[in-house]
Amino acid sequence: MSHSNPVLQLQGIHKKFPGVHALKGVDFSLRAGEIHALLGENGAGKSTLIKVMTGVYRRDGGSIRLDGQEIFPTNTGDAQALGISTVYQEVNLLPNLTVAQNIYLGREPKRWGFIDWATANRKAEDLLRDYELDIDVTQPLSSYSIAVQQLIAIARGVDISAKVLILDEPTASLDADEVQSLFRIMRSLRERGIGIVFVTHFLDQVYAVCDRITILRNAELVGEFEAATLTRQQLVGHMLGKELAALGQHKPAELDRQQRDIALTLDGVGKPGSLEPVHLSVAKGEVVGLAGLLGSGRTELCRLIFGVDKAQSGTITFNGKVVHLKSPKDAMLLGIGLCPEDRKHDGILGPLSIRENIMLAQQIKQGWWRYIPHAQQVAMAEKAVKDLSIATSDIEKPIEQLSGGNQQKVILGRWLAANPSLLILDEPTRGIDIGAHAEIIRLIRQLCAQGLSLVVASSELEELVAFSNKVVVLRDHRKVAELHGDDIHPQRIMQAIASA
């Protein structure tokens, strides 16, 4: 099977943006009935290659063949008509339409020439059941969390795919269970002879499902490899162009809680309808991980601590003082920061430059009348670009032109530049490549050593285990367990999540 002719073949693809040569003669070939990983660092050109394949961008050179025929798609609709369906990196669905409308957009079932919504809703429900989603498909998409939206986008993409399915970092905000059910579906599509392109930054996932691997680096093709014969070290070496310095895999030292000052205490903080009262304390220099399934209330908890939502019950004590957080600004002035989960909607200021996106949090802490001098802004931005290795030619570029992972790094850089004493990270490494991932973990450890406290919500159990001094498990909008020391282990966390 793996030696059948390629369904999709790209040769010598070039793509230029003003000031950036994003693809330099890249080749790519996808066979029917294979899962093909497309890997590379942030900004290597993966999303761009996908957008060229599907006609979102017009290629500046090279050829694309589908079943041997050269094709010239000019928009996603053309590509879909040819049997290529895509789930793009950011959730690109329509928040104002219902879930069912999103799934069947452009393929609505008809009856006597008019759309038959009853059928569409029923089919949508059936479809989502495969992904263990039991939701009201007649509600607007915006009423669901980003992870649910991600699943809906996948369900839609899979349902459309006829020959080729392209998944650009679909697993970034999914938890382990969701990822498994996605893999199950991908494998069954492979059985049906559909070619799948899969972009991810999780190497485990690559080895779990992929047959072959194509690696990009700096807009160029590094090579195409059989997954079975490429070792992890080799893979990482190809991606980064150098060996990854061995990560300190040891666990963070158990903090001596008695000697540590407490930074934040939540006493029965909750909000009816979104979070049951929670008790929680975060010591200075401590990393508290938040674990849980989709919709367990991690994001709600983060929003409460940051004052985006107002707590209806309980007291919040910060550095020994009882505080009333009425808005994010109150929290920021205390030295709290939050990297939100939905980067596109709540994080980036698209048309503004990277520099402005980075300096803004610090500026707001200072007040509008004390404008940070330009030179200092540039210094802040350049420091962030260097520390987080953000791939950009120019800090004056609008942030919306960066690749997804680099946008995430800019948001992180924004908060690091504001010198917070407590930082809340909701899915912080979403879409970040492994090189940068290691870098960020190192950075966070370093900051903690200097006294920064962290609250990290993540669906990556490995990541939580690597970071945390303490893990809080949430289920159904309620805190169900708190794990310390040796209990911080993927198995133990899974147990806590699953126990009734």
Partner: protein, 317 residues
């Protein structure tokens, strides 16, 4: 339980009847079916134009050219009928086609050159009015047997309420628009474009085609409104329907459609127009306000209404 998304619509509807009730309690003759149906027939052209505007606004755009297209349609129709002796039934398809092409051109400019709808349609407004005044500065009467027949076509409801051809056309357009918005692919695409045009594109919506059709539809309906307007006045005049675009936008927004796109209902627009009509009727029954107090009172009523609408639909959430 009613679906939550219909609450603003229901609130708006209740407020309309409240307003109407206040008028009826205060003035003799106000609470008659005649006054109610006058609202429909007097505003038929505005309803039709505002329905087109609803589609545009739901898609996240705006169309400032509708008033000018109404005027241009009237002028062309009256020139063709009166000076060239064409039969109105031949003229109507021609002007509707011209209107559609006009809108399609604006849509094409907006899509292909990434120009902002506000400005393209503003230029369209200047262009249409400019053309109208070049064709004829003077207002031209339409004198044709067919128009008399159209004017006398209709039936009487109890209470002296006349349901004429304009009212019938407007009801037909309304029903067709509701079906178009909610039971066709085009309708879903309009909402999709308003939700997030980039995502809509990435989901395979043919953006070019959809944008062009949206503006073509709006101008088509504006041309139809121009024809209905000409039934109303038996004439064509380059300065007719000045500012109708603002009335239409206000009606659409009062009817609960968001100017940022993505949300709204055609039926809401109908209520929006009726509310503005009832305010006007109220003022003309009142009959003692000077010119400036008329403006101030319209402003105040508009404000009271919108504030009430916000407060009521907020607390119910």
């Amino acid at each position: 339980m009613v679906n939550r998304k219909f609450i603003p619509l229901i609130v708006t509807c209740c407020l309309f009847f409240l307003l109407f009730g206040i008028g009826a309690a205060q003035f003799e003759g106000f609470g008659s079916s005649r006054v109610f149906f006058n609202l429909l027939s007097d505003n038929a052209f505005l309803i039709i134009a505002a329905i087109g505007m609803t589609f545009v606004i739901i898609s996240g755009g705006i169309d400032l050219s509708v008033g000018a297209v109404i005027a241009l349609t009237g002028v062309i129709a009256s020139v063709l009928i009166t000076q060239y002796g064409w039969h109105p039934l031949l003229v109507f398809p021609v002007v509707l086609l011209l209107g559609t092409l006009f809108g399609a051109t604006m849509g094409a400019l907006i899509h292909y050159y990434r120009l902002q709808p506000f400005i393209v349609t503003l230029a369209g407004m200047f262009l249409a009015r400019g053309l109208a005044s070049v064709i004829s500065e003077e207002s031209l009467p339409i004198d044709h047997e067919f128009y008399n027949e159209v004017a006398s076509f209709g039936f009487m409801l109890p209470g002296d309420a006349w349901v004429g051809s304009s009212t019938l056309i407007c009801i037909a357009v309304l029903i067709a628009a509701i079906v178009l918005a909610h039971f066709t692919r085009f309708g879903v695409r309009v909402y999709a474009m308003g939700g997030d045009p980039n995502s809509a594109g990435l989901m395979g919506i043919p953006q070019a085609q959809t944008t062009i059709r949206i503006y073509a539809l709006s101008s088509f309906l504006a041309a139809l409104a121009g024809i209905v307007y000409s039934f109303y006045t038996f004439s064509g005049y380059s300065l007719a329907a000045v500012g109708v675009e603002l009335d239409a936008i206000a009606a659409v927004v009062i009817g609960g459609t968001l100017l940022t796109g993505g949300y709204g209902y055609v039926a809401g627009t109908l209520i929006g127009v009726l509310i503005m009509g009832v305010v006007q009727t109220y003022i003309s029954f009142e009959g003692t306000l000077s010119s400036w107090w008329t403006k101030i009172v319209i402003g105040l009523l508009l404000f009271a209404f919108i504030a009430l609408q916000r407060v009521m639909s907020r607390t119910r959430h």
